[in-house]
Symmetry: C2
Subunit: 256 residues, 2 copies
């Protein structure tokens, strides 16, 4: 169920007070990371997708529900990366701007939005091609924005994206990343560009290839000998069993 | 300021509703990990130290305050490792047991404690020798308990300790660990036992030494040639500059 402006007052009593969820939903296309953003109605301000938690709803389920409502994508799990609890994290001017953009003036809704919120950040990496972005009742646009073009967002939402990236960069050090972002078959160059994009730096081609092949997590596919195909680069896919093993035991500093 | 039973009602209006903090405070001594636990008044139930967040207080500051109130230890920062938000995470029988152990019957306090709580978990690793455990107003004991002797705790607190350990084990893969747990000088065996204790498994001595020396993060001290000291093992300490570098850039899968 998606909220409407007229139903929000009824919902307020069913929500956990002072607690919200914000979702950093990342997608990868054309060798670029994108993040899903909403533009508010009657305003040129952008924000992360987010929402509130029903009193009878698990926190993780609320995050999955918000992802599904905004993108149509259903995932088994998301990465809870940080809880944001600075007491000044929501600029009061931003809250007043939301309130002035609401068509319905309502003191219950105003009180709800003016309270202090602690917000739990969730990261998801999804395939952009299978997503169907959909605005919520507070917004009139919901779009994939290039990570490097993200504008100034409301509240601490830019900081949330930074923190989500930091989480993802640390994750690269001890777990394989890529299965949910790359097509099933990809070149070594595709893989390197994904890592370079996430790390925001160039990597040495030979070292990257050596490090990755050493993990033994890639399956190399035979070239199909059609036309000039022998000049084409090799295609790889992830070895599902090895990938899952690494997801369990990690890639990192192994002490052995 | 530490709470008292009679002041709790006054505080309730100043706290964020439905939100708590629980602290997994770990100490290391005699090659064993310990965790700081509280035993409730008039009950044989144990729990993690925790508390509530003032409406005018940053979440991280609240966690540092709780650590300081329970241990006398002041740290610059703690590790926020997970936020626990299952709607059934607090067994109602456990809540009733707290309530029945309270000396003051008070409907405001009862309502407060009966609401749904989402709890933010913080991990700290501290030197047990410099800590002064102190019970809170709900408990009559506050003690370091051997990790392997932790009893069944209230709510989801055993799960919190498991999750904190998982966080710490992952952290070992990409960051050095030990400076806050080991004495300034230590043997290679001390270091290995710390890692073995955290990972809860044996490590090969030669591989451990090789992996660690390769990091170049240890300073080896000359043996003092007194009596039989030449038979004593080498003492090491952490190279502060290299340690801090690794804290910034990580130890993990480096792709180079």
């Amino acid at each position: 169920m998606d909220l409407t402006m007229s139903s929000i007052e009824d919902h307020i009593q069913n929500w956990q007070p002072g607690l919200s969820i914000d979702c950093v939903i990342m997608g990868y296309a054309n060798h670029e990371l994108h993040v899903l953003l909403l533009k508010w109605k009657n305003s040129d301000r952008w924000s992360l997708p987010g929402g509130f938690i029903e009193k009878e709803e698990d926190l993780d389920d609320a995050a999955l529900r918000i992802l599904s409502e905004r993108t149509g994508v259903t995932l088994p799990t998301l990465h809870q990366f940080h809880t944001f609890g600075g007491r000044q994290r929501r600029d009061p001017d931003d809250v007043l701007e939301v309130l002035s953009s609401l068509e319905l003036k309502n003191p219950v809704v105003e009180n709800w939005l003016m309270q202090r919120f602690v917000s739990v950040g969730y990261l998801s990496l999804i395939n952009m091609n299978t997503s169907h972005p959909k605005a919520d009742f507070l917004s009139d646009r919901c779009e994939w924005i290039l990570l490097r073009d993200v504008p100034e967002l409301i509240f601490d939402h830019n900081e949330m994206i930074e923190k989500a990236l930091e989480f993802l960069r640390i994750r690269l050090r001890y777990l394989p990343v890529g299965r949910s972002l790359l097509p099933q078959k990809f070149t070594m160059k595709d893989l390197q560009r994904l890592y370079e994009t996430i790390l925001n730096k160039s990597l040495d081609r030979a070292n990257f290839q050596k490090s990755f092949l050493k993990l033994n997590v890639l399956v190399r596919h035979e070239k199909q000998m059609l036309g000039g195909a022998h000049k084409a680069p090799f295609l790889y896919s992830f070895d599902k069993v090895r990938y899952d093993e690494y997801m369990k035991r990690g890639l990192g500093f192994t002490l052995s």
